[in-house]
């Protein structure tokens, strides 16, 4: 390395190193938190799922920014664009697949239509939902 180091270069160098140290620190914290949550059983079920995936997503963003410099100082624009497109594809196909497979699961159960509907409604927490089109007797809409 040359003895006469540029002021600007030194600043850039420090910034780069600091970026990586910050990224490492945040990633460690964002790993420790969900680990702690799971090990001490602080959350359950859906809440747990959302919390863990949430922390993973935040760590993804942290690593992308600090390690991969993705949204930093107007770097190659195409990086952000292609990443955004990939994210779109991932969400679309990922969530789509899970949705379809869950529905196939319902259909595979070979229950009469009413039971399937009941099960779907229970899963979506509409326990007391009542579909009027199934009724011939509308008296429950009238008082007395």
């Amino acid at each position: 390395m040359s003895k006469k180091v540029d002021e600007k270069d030194l600043k850039k160098f420090e910034k780069s190193i600091n970026n990586y140290i910050a990224g490492l620190f945040f990633s460690l914290v964002l790993t420790a938190i969900p680990y702690y949550i799971v090990v001490t059983n602080k959350l359950e079920g859906d809440q747990l799922t959302f919390a863990i995936i949430g922390y993973a997503s935040i760590q993804l963003a942290v690593q992308l920014y600090f390690f991969v410099h993705i949204f930093d100082d107007g770097k190659p624009f195409w990086k952000s664009i292609s990443f955004a497109y990939t994210a779109f594809v991932v969400l679309f196909i990922g969530i789509g697949s899970l949705w379809i497979m869950k529905n196939l699961n319902y259909l595979m159960m070979q229950m009469p239509a009413e039971e399937t509907q009941q099960m779907l409604l229970e899963d979506q927490n509409f326990q007391n939902y009542h579909d009027d089109s199934d009724d011939h007797d509308m008296s429950h809409h009238y008082e007395n």
């Binding site: 390395m1 040359s2 540029d6 270069d9 850039k12 160098f13 780069s16 190193i17 990586y20 140290i21 990224g23 490492l24 990633s27 460690l28 790993t31 969900p34 680990y35 799971v38 090990v39 059983n41 359950e44 747990l48 799922t49 863990i52 995936i53 922390y55 993973a56 760590q59 993804l60 690593q63 992308l64 390690f67 991969v68 770097k75 190659p76 195409w78 990086k79 292609s82 990443f83 497109y85 990939t86 594809v89 991932v90 196909i93 990922g94 697949s97 899970l98 497979m101």
Partner: protein, 192 residues
């Protein structure tokens, strides 16, 4: 002296490699979706809760995280012309990555030895496929790191070498990110 020229002059190569990484993300996404669908299909075999050891996996995660850190520092060293630092940091990255791989292979070995191989249930099939594919990527990455270290040792920090090192760094960061999701979705959610 850092060199901004590298990115400007090789932007097509970097674009190509970046797009490859995007397709790799799509690949892993399909493996994740498959795992998510099949995670409950444990047949007569064990569920995640019974076979995952969280402290062990946390160790793997921390190892990989530090290796991502050191390879980033190696890239910075290369940018600023320090061959010695780049080599040392690449060596550390290699050791950390190798430690991760050994731990993972050990986990697989014990699972298969206990009779819980990928043949036992759909859950295990998808588990081994997802985690195994990631492990295969890590293995290739380690070979690449070894090659880069040899290159830097023999021919110094040429522009071409730095270009390749940048792509390796992107690749390695990508692998760490995928592991974060494996750790979260497979192990954390599986063991709870």
């Amino acid at each position: 002296m850092s060199d901004v020229g590298i990115e400007k002059n090789n932007s097509k190569t970097f674009l190509g490699f970046w797009i490859y990484l995007m397709t790799d993300i799509a690949l892993f996404m399909t493996l994740f979706a498959t795992f998510a669908v099949l995670r409950g299909s444990t047949a007569d075999g064990p569920s995640g809760k019974e076979i995952f050891e969280l402290p062990y996996v946390l160790t793997e995660t921390v190892l990989l995280l530090f290796s991502s850190f050191t390879i980033g520092l190696a890239m910075i060293s290369a940018r600023y012309g320090s061959k010695k630092h780049a080599l040392i940091l690449l060596a550390i990255t290699f050791i950390l990555g190798m430690a991760f791989l050994i731990l993972e292979l050990n986990e697989f070995y014990h699972l298969v030895n206990d009779g819980h191989s990928w043949r036992e249930s759909a859950f295990l099939s998808s588990f081994f496929t997802l985690v195994g594919t990631h492990g295969a990527h890590i293995a290739v990455g380690l070979i690449w790191i070894a090659f880069m270290a040899y290159q830097i040792f023999k021919t110094g920090l040429r522009d071409l070498t730095k270009k390749r090192l940048m792509m390796l760094t992107m690749f390695w960061h990508f692998l760490d990110v995928v592991w974060i999701f494996i750790f979260s979705i497979v192990y954390l959610l599986g063991a709870s």
